[in-house]
Amino acid sequence: MIKDITIGQFFPGKSFIHKMDARAKFSLMFAFIIIIFVCKNLVSLGIVFGFALFMIILSKVAIKTILKSFKMIVFIIILTSALQIFYNSKGTVLFDWWKIKVTDIGMLTALFMAVRIITLILSSSLLTYTTSPTLLTDAIERLFSPLKILRINVSTLAMMMTIALRFIPILIDEVDRIMSAQKARGADLETGGLIKRAKALLPIFIPLFVNSFRRAFELAYAMECRCYKGGEGRTRMTAMKMHIRDFFAVFVIAGLLAGVIWVNRVFVALI
């Protein structure tokens, strides 16, 4: 159910990926996402997808947890790729009915889109799965510290981003709880037309918003009580250090990029 969404959660561990420097991990994940968009055909995308799977196996995060998380977005994936089928009229026609033409290229494009979205979600969720929120803020703050020249308050932005990420699982828990409570009062969330269903969501969303504000205030007070007054001038308990493994990872990702570009050139035909 809704509790299966694990995006934004952190699963502590001791794998290679867990141990990587958070800055390196953040930058390389970003590079990896760019690589996904560099892929021009199914072969190179296949390689990148395989690499994403490899990283997940390496991270030792349970595959089942990730798959369950996917159940909720299957609909989006199917919709996006289905649109590709219908909007593509190039290639040989496999199937023709009324105004709908399904072509072989259309099918391949649909597959391509689906794999691309899945790879994107896999790789981006891996970052939060394997990095503790504190380290993540720290990394974001350090990476973006050059923006300070533009008078952007980087540490506050980093703190906001991490809190937002951290709150996703908390809010999902909350939705689950409120849904149970309203169901116990006979709420019917499953039947009826669009308007009826939208109305049925009110008893869930109003308390959710009210509670989110309450939580936000509580968190703000708690942070102030512990003398948080923005990141300005805060020092850190631990220094961040790049290790051999981080440089190694940089090389692997660079190799992947080179490989993808080469494959793009060799297999031009497959869309």
Binding site: T65, A181, K183, A184, R185, G186, A187, P203
Partner: protein, 284 residues
């Protein structure tokens, strides 16, 4: 025939993941009509999970839940019926208030039961009376009430459905002493006036001892004891080993006895203790 019964109920959260927790392990209980059952157990012992099985919010992995002899998970219809026959008031119910006025919020449950307007109105007013919410407060926004008042409004929202079995999961948690005693009082009154079955989860042994007919003790997803107040609180050392305790007043009696005063120790209320001590004074 018991009004509510479970047979070999087993339930796991996150089955098949590394986070798998067996929250209920082969639980069989039967609850008689009209009794008030107090439920105690350490945090995480499965109390809330068991309560959510009673109105088919959770479906058992193994075993059955029988309401008046019928399996509530047999089909969808039976499950929906259980929703209305078994009123479950969650922990911190004030966080589920959402309507513009207290009146409308209390009316949410009855309206979902597709009752007509008159009936809904009658139920809302009666439930408000049960929990001590004065009529003028019904037109206020639920978000403007005090903590204790919010809690009582939320409880009224469940009572207004007139469930044959009312379940309250830690209804006094996080309230001040006067808020707590008001809620305990309203629970006792509710049971007296309606004669309905009530299940009360609480961490306060004093509250449980004062109102329960029988006490269900849970430990690690299993039933550790299910017996009369006297018998359960007689097993002091076992309770302590489970991280539980006996009522404060019973503890005083136990201590007195330890110091050689010949008092009875099966005493769980202040009145009982007063009587016993007076009795002792007269004897001397």
């Amino acid at each position: 025939m018991p009004v509510l019964e479970t047979k070999n109920l087993t339930y796991q959260y996150g089955a098949g993941t590394p986070f798998c927790v067996t929250a209920l392990d082969d639980v069989s209980v039967s609850i008689e009509k009209g009794e008030l059952v107090g439920i105690i157990g350490h945090t995480g012992s499965g109390k809330s999970t068991l309560m959510q099985h009673f109105n088919a919010l959770l479906k058992p992995d193994k075993g059955q839940v029988l309401l008046e002899g019928k399996d509530i998970n047999e089909n969808k219809q039976a499950g929906l019926e259980a929703r209305f026959k078994v009123g479950l008031c969650f922990q911190y119910p004030e966080y589920q208030l959402f309507e513009a006025t207290v009146y409308k919020d209390i009316a949410y449950g009855p309206a979902n039961m597709k009752l007509d307007g008159k009936e809904v109105d009658a139920r809302v007013r009666q439930a408000a009376e049960y929990v001590g919410i004065p009529p003028d407060m019904l037109e206020k926004s639920p978000f403007d009430l005090s903590g204790g008042e919010k809690r009582r409004a939320a409880i009224a929202g469940v009572m207004a459905m007139r469930p044959e079995i009312l379940i309250l999961d830690e209804p006094t948690a996080g309230l001040d002493p006067s808020g707590r005693s008001k809620i305990m009082e309203l629970i006792v009154n509710y049971k007296k006036t309606t004669g309905n079955t009530v299940l009360l989860v609480s961490h306060s042994m004093d509250e449980i001892a004062a109102v329960s007919d029988r006490i269900l003790v849970m430990k690690g997803g299993k039933i550790a004891m299910f017996d009369s107040v006297k018998h359960v609180f007689g097993r002091v050392s076992e309770l302590i080993s489970m991280g539980l305790f006996v009522p404060e007043i019973t503890n005083i009696m136990l201590k007195l006895k330890e110091r050689g005063v010949g008092v009875r120790t099966d005493i769980f209320t202040l009145e009982g203790a007063a009587n016993e001590l007076l009795h002792l004074l007269f004897l001397h």
